[in-house]
């Protein structure tokens, strides 16, 4: 009975949602907001339109084939007027929309577009009696257009799919009751319940429960991470097993997933120089070929080289080839695929211009703390005197630090694990020096050499990187710990991969002291660094490191106090963009998870994307060039021309879909 109730309840949940939003097929998410809705609707529409168009064209194709066969084999039985009338009516039915558009643009004095070119060429073909050719041109032209449309809508959909896992409902806990609401209605501080297997609706902190969280939809990281009370979780991620209660960190529009959507939507607003180049090229390409076509049609007959109709026909062939759309469409499609591919890996690219800019990059500058290193203190070494175990020394130190909130103390406590303050303990904190803990039995002093000295204990001078924490118990020196910010495991690999990908110099900027900077730089084998920088000095340091050539640098930082540097460098990459609003605003690229390896990944995607885009450009230009020559010398007819035009566009489109599979 209970099960039935919960089943019904579940159904209620969905019906509640269905009122204002549509549930997508995977049923754990919804396409609620503008971008997705728009695309969804458009797609439905596109698909219907596409199917209709294809059916129509197949029907026309069959009729056309019948006419062709008749013309070929049974022409003695059918009057040629009748056959021509059939071709003409087919032509009109197929070509009317194109002719209409062509007429409209002529009125507006726009002479060079696909409609005027196709319409004009086919109409002229009719005029010189090439009936079957003009019908063929129309049918193939429209077929190609339909597939182009379909391909762009497919490409849009692939971007959408990547961010499809949007939370569709939030279970608001209020006065002990669960209320199902739209995630958009959540306000800061709301308590939300998430059932196992559900999408977490909002960014927030877990206040009860444990679960494995899969954030692959957002960061591209497929390994689930475990989350417990106090862990920050993000809207759009999936709770795999546990029941969680989450306190919302803010309204939905400020949540990570919402901001990501916004960023991807705006991503393509920045066009790449390649794209601009092609549109400029298309601007003069079409009139130029039109001029050429006119010359081919008029000059040879005028100087007495052959039949006017023959040359006129060749001119028409050139006209069909002069259509610029294949060229123009292949570029944004390629870049769009690249942006999608990067997003799938948890790399948000703000615009296609980034891909072009990365081509010129030869220098990489990293921020140290939080980027090359983890940005948190860790106990890296424990050196007890003989007779004391490492564990004992660590526990001793940790016991004394229980009362402190200092990052150093926190790191020692974290390393020691479960340590509680002993009963009846008296704690004294010496700012900047250390701690003293007194119980009925023991007195423990933890801190700098100077602090121990104050209590008459001699500690050795240690010259090691990081912060040295000495430990003394009952006036006896026990040993020391080294606490330091450690280098990320993947930093080594990342630097190596960048070098393989053509980055010649790798530098580092840090606010940290010289000794630490040098150590990190040496370990990673960097080409140079600038240390002891104040946040305001970083821009100048970046400029001096790269010799003023900021156009050739990419900068990787955590985005928190790197804003100006992210802007100064040609490509600013912010790591761990999950938390930081600033990063999203100023960076060109945001890496959503914390993996430094994504920088190399981004370079690879950029390279592949550029390759494909240029392949498209050369292919389109090459094919058109060849057919221009073939057309002019009379080898290629209208059939071949239209195949060349439509075919090359389709090839470019197919090639572009490869970018999304990098």
């Amino acid at each position: 009975m209970k099960r039935l109730e919960s089943f019904e309840k579940k159904h209620d949940d969905y019906s509640h949602i269905k009122k204002d939003d549509e549930i997508c097929s995977c049923c754990s998410c919804i396409q609620s907001e503008d971008f997705f809705n728009e695309i969804e609707e458009e797609e439905q529409f596109d698909l219907r339109e596409f199917r209709g168009e294809i059916r129509f064209l197949i029907f026309m194709g069959v009729l056309f084939a019948i006419c062709l066969i008749t013309e070929e084999f049974f022409s003695e039985y059918v009057h040629s007027y009748l056959l021509n009338a059939a071709f003409l009516s087919l032509y009109l039915v197929c070509g009317l929309p194109v002719l209409k558009m062509a007429f409209r643009s002529l009125i507006k004095k726009d002479f060079f577009n696909e409609f005027t070119l196709m319409g004009g060429a086919s109409l002229a073909a009719v005029a010189i009696g090439q009936m079957s050719e003009s019908v063929g041109v129309m049918i193939f032209y429209r077929l190609g257009e339909a597939f182009q449309k379909k391909a762009s809508s497919y490409s849009r959909r692939s971007i959408k799919a990547l961010l499809a896992q949007k939370p569709m409902l939030a279970r608001l806990l209020k006065d002990g009751k669960v209320e199902n609401i739209n995630p958009k209605d959540i306000v800061k501080g709301d308590i939300v319940q998430v059932l196992p297997g559900e999408v977490i609706p909002i960014d927030g902190i877990i206040i009860s429960g444990v679960a494995q969280i899969n954030s692959s939809a957002i960061t591209g990281e497929s390994k689930p991470v475990s989350a417990k009370v106090g862990t920050a979780v993000y809207g759009g991620t999936l709770s795999l097993d546990g029941l969680l209660t989450i306190k919302a960190a803010g309204p939905f529009k400020d949540s990570t997933i919402s901001r990501m959507l916004e960023m991807v939507q705006n991503a393509v607003a920045h066009k790449s120089p390649t794209e601009r180049f092609i549109t400029r090229f298309a601007k003069w390409y079409t009139p130029a070929v039109f001029g050429l076509a006119t010359l081919v049609a008029l000059v040879p007959p005028l100087i007495g080289q052959g039949d006017f109709r023959e040359w006129f026909y060749r001119g028409l062939v050139l006209l069909v080839i002069s259509c610029p759309c294949a060229l123009v469409i292949s570029i944004p499609l390629g870049f769009f695929g690249g942006i999608g591919s990067a997003s799938k890996k948890g790399i948000l690219v703000k615009g296609a211009n980034v891909f072009d800019a990365l081509d010129k990059v030869t220098m990489a500058v990293f921020d140290k703390t939080g980027t090359l290193t983890y940005g948190r203190f860790e106990v890296v070494k424990i050196l007890p005197l003989t007779g004391i175990t490492e564990g004992d020394l660590l526990r001793m130190a940790a016991t004394a630090e229980t009362g402190s909130n200092h990052p150093l103390a926190r790191s020692i406590l974290a390393a020691a694990g479960n340590i509680t303050m002993p009963l009846n303990a008296q704690v004294t904190q010496f700012a900047g020096k250390g701690m003293l803990l007194k119980t009925d039995l023991d007195t423990i002093i933890v801190g700098s050499k100077a602090l121990l000295q104050d209590y008459g204990i001699t500690a050795p001078s240690i010259s090691e990187l990081g912060t040295v924490v000495h430990v003394a118990k009952n006036d006896k020196y026990q040993g020391y710990l080294i606490v330091a910010d450690s280098i990320r495991e993947e930093s080594y690999q990342s630097v190596k991969e960048l070098r393989e990908l053509g980055i010649k110099k790798v530098y580092m900027l840090t606010g940290d002291c010289e000794a630490v900077a040098k150590s990190v730089s040496d370990k990673l084998g960097l080409d140079g660094y600038r240390s002891e920088l104040l946040p305001g000095d970083k821009v100048a340091a970046l400029k001096s490191l790269c010799g003023g050539e900021t156009k050739k640098t990419l900068f990787v930082g955590d985005g928190i106090n790197d804003g100006p540097v992210l802007v100064t460098s040609e490509t600013g990459i912010a790591m761990g963009g999950f938390g930081s609003q600033v990063a999203i605003e100023v960076a060109d690229v945001v890496i959503l998870n914390d993996s430094l390896l994504k920088v190399a990944e981004l370079l690879r995607v950029a390279k592949k994307t550029r390759t494909i885009v240029w392949q498209n450009v050369f292919m389109a230009m090459g094919v058109k060039g060849v057919f221009l020559v073939f057309g002019a010398v009379g080898v290629a007819g209208l059939w071949e021309a239209v195949f060349a035009d439509v075919g090359v566009a389709l090839m470019a489109i197919l090639n572009s879909t490869r970018t999304s599979k990098v």
């Binding site: 601007k283 469409i329 944004p332």
Partner: protein, 73 residues
Amino acid sequence: MKKTFKLVGLDCANCAAKIENEISDLPDVISVTVNFMTTKMNIEAEREKMESVVEAAMKVVKNIEPDVKIEKV
């Protein structure tokens, strides 16, 4: 200030480029991008001039692609 519009039914890459070119030649337009893939148009202009710029831009769109519907985002 910047404004974004959606051009519903924009399905020709070259037309997108043409619209962008013509709008960028309009007076008072600081910047404009017409994106074929997202079918979005971003226009930047001074706040006081925005209204007249948008009006002129709409005319350009209608002129080049009469079937495109312009929606505010």
